[in-house]
């Protein structure tokens, strides 16, 4: 009587213990059908192994270079910080610098709008626009509870979601924001500097200019 094909599959994988392994080998030596099944499984394994792969050595070299700073502890991400909340109370943990950075960009955008549109009406429009932008910040539902400890982690996790999620970003309790100086341009192209292809922005002399924060998180 022939063994089950599943048993032959396990035998080819070397997963059948003695004495059954020897008995199957004995059977294969005398049964053409079972021997053919075993050959097909073995040939399949060979075929899968023979599929041309990418340059593994090059991949390993690149991967090692990318990971080396992590292994030596040079790059470390702080675990504590702001958190984002998804539906059903699920949380995405953001480090404080990232949460603060996101808040900064909202405020910097708002500030830039105010700087270039100083009228009260423009300010109200800017505020409505920012509020709309914030309301439109639709992220995709978190399908599993995970703590993203870096923007890289968070983006990778969000990328892996296949359906829209809702993301609420809250700064840690007790976080306060303060005004910091007057906005100013850190660097603008001089008249005699070679053009880089950037479009120059003309700013009225009397209007305050935007400042980029120098102490980035």
């Amino acid at each position: 009587m022939c063994p089950d094909r599943q048993l032959i599959s396990s035998y080819v994988d070397g997963e059948v213990p003695s004495p059954w392994k020897e008995r199957i080998a004995e059977h294969l030596a005398s049964c053409p059908d079972c021997a053919k099944a075993a050959r097909r499984y073995t040939a399949l394994a060979g075929g899968l192994a023979a599929i041309p792969g990418s340059d593994e050595a090059a991949s390993l070299t690149r991967l090692r270079a990318r990971l080396e700073p992590r292994f030596s502890g040079i790059e470390r991400r702080p675990r504590e910080g702001g958190f984002a909340r998804g539906p059903q109370g699920r949380y995405i943990v953001l480090p404080l610098p990232i949460a603060a950075g996101i808040a900064f960009f909202f405020l910097a955008g708002f500030g830039a709008m105010l700087a270039f549109s100083p009228s009260a009406m423009a300010s109200r429009a800017a505020m409505r626009s920012m509020a709309a932008s914030a309301a439109e910040l639709q992220a995709r539902p978190v399908s599993s509870l995970e703590a993203a400890t870096s923007m890289e982690d968070l983006l990778s996790m969000l990328d892996s979601q296949s359906s829209p999620i809702t993301l609420t970003i809250q700064l840690p309790a007790g976080t306060t924001l303060r005004d910091s100086g007057e906005p100013r341009i850190i660097r603008a192209p001089a008249r005699d500097e070679p053009k880089t292809g950037l479009v120059p922005v003309s700013v009225p002399a009397a209007a305050p200019t935007a400042k980029a924060q120098e102490d980035s998180p």
Partner: protein
């Protein structure tokens, strides 16, 4: 291992883990996602997660199985995102293309290797994961069960079903010895 309280990571242990697992992880990821750059990203992200979360593992083996699981899941997500379609082929392997007539071992030609790769991609994830871990990570049934969180018996059944599913599409000519 790898981490002590809030101190820096144990470099030696992390490098040892990397040397012991990276080649196999790259092979597994590359086979599932089909490209080296995406495979590197998946494996990179798995190690980064291990380091940043300061994952506690009692042994190198525990870390290895965790990494394989994360790489497997990450690779499947990438493959899904790429929008790979499940395609059925009536016949991939034709006996007349088999130039092994007269030789003892079946030969895989370039176009057939491509078809075999597509066939592997088209397998349901549960079957594909078992076959990839068996053929490219070199894990035994017990280890595969540990990575996937399923029983050894379940692994055995899935390995068999994965093989049969692929062979059904390759046709009767596959593995024929003249």
């Amino acid at each position: 291992m790898f981490f002590q309280s809030d101190g820096p990571p144990n470099e030696a242990e992390l490098r040892k883990l990397y040397e012991a697992t990276a080649p196999m992880l790259i092979r597994v990821a590359a086979r599932i996602v089909g490209g080296s750059e995406a495979a590197e990203d998946v494996v990179h992200d798995a190690f980064v997660r291990l380091v940043e979360r300061r994952m506690p593992f009692p042994s190198l083996d525990d870390a290895k199985y965790w990494l394989i699981r994360v790489v497997k899941n990450g690779s499947l997500n990438v493959a899904k995102r790429k929008g790979r379609e499940v395609r059925a082929y009536e016949r991939w392997w034709r006996g007349e293309k088999d130039s092994s007539a007269g030789s003892d071992e079946p030969v895989i030609k370039a176009e057939s290797a491509d078809e075999l790769r597509r066939g592997l991609d088209s397998l349901p994830e549960g079957l594909k994961a078992v076959l990839v871990l068996k053929e490219y990570a070199g894990l035994n049934y017990k280890e595969i069960g540990r990575v996937l969180g399923i029983s050894e018996g379940n692994v055995k059944v899935r390995a068999f079903r994965a093989r049969e599913a692929l062979l059904a599409k390759l046709g009767e000519g596959f593995g024929h010895v003249s």
